[in-house]
Symmetry: C2
Subunit: 246 residues, 2 copies
């Protein structure tokens, strides 16, 4: 079913809705939706409503609702990815996959060895467009939240306050195999909120890794014998978590 | 450590080795290796040997061995990915990730709804270069084998003869959750060779799915509630398998 994203207030209302530019373009030029075709409107916060495209023109697409609001549960487990910013193509790809796999939130982190030097807020729009596009393509009703870029100190604070374990993809000697860690978390029932911290292309600086591992909720996790590229490590971590707990 | 790929016979010999064009280029222009620097030569079949770059020029890079041959065990579990050919960028990416994650073999399959119509053998060189490049980047000593493209009938025969379960990423009603399936395979000890069959962008044709599921070693597996892109489904399947059994 063709999906478009609108605001929560609009979704809750009864009036015809004019889709935004990106959704109009997607419906009209990519999906080639015809007037009268059913579509699915979501707000990215779990709410969804059946509708019909009643007017399609260069000016945009207008939809009318054809039913009530249905609310889908938030994807479980609730995964937050603390991701040191990777090179652009790889980071974009990773953000897309995170949305497809139902990650709740991405916190982009600029650690010491991140190549890109970004201002807070930069790139956030771009990543936001990528998650929206992935939601349109793959359905679902929840958008992955992309936080503004955090510096290392800010990320440490976010992780300290995180309401669940933060698993750290680490090449450290103390790292335990991912399967063992996920099984023990699953068993202890803390599996509701899971954080993952994944390093950048050049890995964490030694001091950073020590600081992260010193957090009370941190667990060093080995992602296996191969050296993985950043985006592979992140998807491996998320997919493993879902396979165990999803 | 900088890695280059050479033939098994050369690796077993005692003479200085002239690297091929792609490895020479990678050592010289990408890694900027200097004369006298240690490098790691592998044959992609598990054998590895320490060496030193003794001559670096536009004509190529020559290495001399500095130790004996070490043989690394094959990655476990032994995963074969029967992958219906995805659109080029996504297929390329998927092949790269399969190498990084230690997949043993990829069998590219042209099923009914594969968009690309390819001749047998086409693309194999390209995918071979991608796995070699991923091995150079990420280390390891085993190259993922990329088979020639199979048609559907050929793929069914390959799966029928496969020495282990073939898990089929399916949206079918009979599909069991990936975690449950992997746990039961792990327990029964059949986990040595695992096949995965992943459909193309437009999914399997209904008759194809019935035919595949009728194989005695086939198991229909649900990859979770989200609709995943082809390459995401494949990596999710592989990563889940590794998390459980790696």
């Amino acid at each position: 079913m063709h999906t478009a994203i609108i605001g929560t207030e609009e979704l809750m209302g009864g009036m015809p809705v004019a889709l935004g530019d990106e959704d109009s373009h997607h419906m009209r030029s990519v999906l080639r939706v015809s007037e009268g075709e059913p579509v699915r409107l979501v707000d990215g916060r779990g709410n969804m409503r059946a509708a019909v495209a009643v007017s399609i023109s260069k000016g945009g697409v207008v939809c009318e609702f054809r039913g009530g609001v249905e609310t889908l549960p938030r994807p479980r487990p609730r995964i937050t990815l603390f991701q040191c910013v990777a090179k652009p193509v790889r980071m974009d790809w990773l953000v897309e996959k995170a949305q497809e796999l139902g990650v709740e939130r991405i916190v982009p982190v600029v650690s010491e060895r991140v190549v890109a030097r970004m201002r807070r807020g930069e790139k956030q729009d771009r990543w936001g467009r990528i998650v929206a596009s992935a939601l349109r393509q793959c359905g679902g009703a929840w958008l992955t939240d992309v936080d503004p870029v955090e510096n290392w100190a800010g990320a440490i604070e976010e992780m300290r306050c995180f309401p669940g374990p933060v698993l750290i993809g680490a090449l450290s000697d103390v790292a335990r195999p991912i399967g063992e860690v996920l099984e023990s978390i699953g068993v202890s029932g803390r599996g509701e909120s899971i954080g993952w911290l994944i390093g950048p292309e050049g890995d964490f600086a030694p001091g950073e890794l020590r600081e992260a591992l010193a957090l009370q909720n941190a667990v060093a996790v080995s992602l296996g014998g191969n050296v993985l590229r950043v985006e592979t490590a992140a998807i491996f971590a998320i997919a493993g978590t879902l396979a165990y707990m999803g």
